[in-house]
Symmetry: C2
Subunit: 454 residues, 2 copies
Amino acid sequence: VDQASGEKLITELRRVVGDNHVLSESELRARYERDWTGRFVGQCQAVVRPANTDEVAQVVSILNNLGVAAVAQGGNTGLVGGGVPRGGEVVVTLERLTEIASLDKRSRQVTVGAGATLQSLQSHLQGSGLAFGVDHGARSAATIGGMVATNAGGIHALRYGTMRFAVAGLEAVFSDGTVMSRMSGLVKDNAGYDLPQMIVGSEGTLALVTKARLRLVKDLPERATALFAVDDTQSAVELLMLLRDEVPSLEAAEVFYKDGLELVSSYLGMHKPFAGDHPAYVLVECAASYDPTEELAQAADGANTRDVAVAVDAVRRNELWSYRESHTEAINAQGIPHKLDVSVAVSAMPEFEAQVRELIAEAAPQALCILFGHLGDGNYHVNILGLEPDDETVDRRVCELVAYCEGSISAEHGIGIAKRDLLSLTRTEQEIEAMRKIKAALDPNNILNPGVIF
Amino acid sequence: VDQASGEKLITELRRVVGDNHVLSESELRARYERDWTGRFVGQCQAVVRPANTDEVAQVVSILNNLGVAAVAQGGNTGLVGGGVPRGGEVVVTLERLTEIASLDKRSRQVTVGAGATLQSLQSHLQGSGLAFGVDHGARSAATIGGMVATNAGGIHALRYGTMRFAVAGLEAVFSDGTVMSRMSGLVKDNAGYDLPQMIVGSEGTLALVTKARLRLVKDLPERATALFAVDDTQSAVELLMLLRDEVPSLEAAEVFYKDGLELVSSYLGMHKPFAGDHPAYVLVECAASYDPTEELAQAADGANTRDVAVAVDAVRRNELWSYRESHTEAINAQGIPHKLDVSVAVSAMPEFEAQVRELIAEAAPQALCILFGHLGDGNYHVNILGLEPDDETVDRRVCELVAYCEGSISAEHGIGIAKRDLLSLTRTEQEIEAMRKIKAALDPNNILNPGVIF
């Protein structure tokens, strides 16, 4: 970037958002230029922090006119490099759009700014009798805008679906700076193409999400958490099927294994949940308006499990959850892992698990492979420690296995820049071409997160 | 169309689907050229009946190469003229793609051909313990492909959402004849733009749907139906809110009025449901794995209603439903109505109802306005009898009122050709431009249902 045009850009952006909200010095930019795992780092021209939708629109319009690329950033909790710069872009952080408003108990909807964190939404809803159906471990930092842009999934998808199903309305800024505002939250609205649904999951490449109208669910105050020890993945799947049929209060079903539990317990300095070790673990959450313990206990009686721990009080429930939710942190503490986020049909999980372990043991005998994930969605997080940071050979082979199992190479994290070269494993040339055409149609100057997805 | 090129087209199509499945004679084409209300009629060059996806792809490819437009047709139950020709197109009927396969109880999904009717899917699922969440009155003729293409809503949307939420996978043919097959039915699959979701609701303008992988729900065998007589729409809305909070088994909540009931009872030759007349009626369906009568009765006790009839046996339940579901037939028997399918926020229904009646009484004092619809979704079907068939003045004024109430001018029927000129009432110029760009990107020769939506 030549200096004169760079200065012109900064001046124009400052005119819109104010001097303090255009960060051009490197130490101020730093935290926006690097993802939290440390795997993706890039330098941007500036970080701009608009205060509202109108400022976002003006910023995007300036960037579009000057042909400067925009990287939208939410809570920077992404895992595929889709929210940090690659080099030379302007980072548009939505972090100041934190307003949560218009909680409507009659329609069971709420309007949330793109920059509000999931946790702040959860706090806002406390005591209202309503709750938000999508939840995941990064709740304290992940923002609603980022969750919309990546169609976040998380731990309750088996009951409430992914982010896509929670979006009743959307406000977003297109590449030319025009604002689409579809916020009335109608249950039925078939007037032309559903642009909001097109934007959900498009990873900042079609529009910048500024606000979402979200569907809420009934808050279910009675909860029970159970940790089951089981023989293997096949037993885990059978347990899931049983619970799905017989436990209407089932809200989450997660899976992890002996090696992951070992790592987490030692990282957290916690006792392991059972006296002995077991090959695999299923963590189950039930929620209802009645006490779900009985239906859970009854179903558990009929299940082929090795051991079980049930918790109803919050402290003990959190403890059981921490075995599962601390996996990512505990793994990151060991080094920078290669992270793959894949899904297969639930019934294909046992075979996939066996084959992926075999593949990694063969391709990288020195590597440590930790598997965990969302049993209810067939969603495995494959974490591999001990690989060269830039050697993608093993990643590709794992994704080829996924494709062979008719699965997805990105279940919930998106494609970003990390999985770009793998997209063709599960999408045909014609599908990718159709996506490219949509991208070119809506962002002809290719300024919205260029290099992401394609 | 000149004769030589017309003959060439017929020959090429016959080579793909066989002589018997290209209908070029006018008496054979007739039933495909006219919608069932008789409002939309147009002449096509031919009707082609491919037997499978491969034949659909070849047909579309031929049409694209020759620049001949294709009108996809399912059960021809549409109400906005989106499935019948305007003049000179080829109708591609999906009626032979009726296969229902791969019912997977573990994933709770089934694969359904575009031409299978909703009723045939319902029959197929009988006894399986699973059911399909979307249902509507046209079930005997409406096809799954058509329901996908129009994002059908219907009577259970308040519990299970619209068609969009039931689509776990899609197979479709793009304008150049390439097939997109995304049928693995993964719960989480964030690899690039969600093309299936873009196609849902696009009314045959972006691709021809050939197959869908559908999410199923648990079949709930215990049912209760109640018909409430209430004072007015405000009381109906309050009743809905009460039921939504206190009756977890609530599956449908419909509304109709005194004049509609009068018409239906006389059309069916049935007694009216109560001894006296009442201003408004709410029809409620409950479904659960337990007997829902008690929770319904308890909630009804606390409601401000004028009368109530409850039914649990199938015969009596069907009778109560027929008061609601025969509205369309009973109205059509009076003449060709102007039909508007609109939605507003549920809380805005009372004001909308009052204003729309006032508007029609003032604008067309000779007209008869029958309102009914899906209370749970804020979805009114506004039927106006006694207007000139081609005079759209009143339709436009009703839709202007909808726009003023921040509603949708097409809740579930789509835009078709009937509502094309009204689209700009609730979509901005920029939104429509974005839709046009997507259309042009995916169908550059404009052969897929041209004239529909735009």
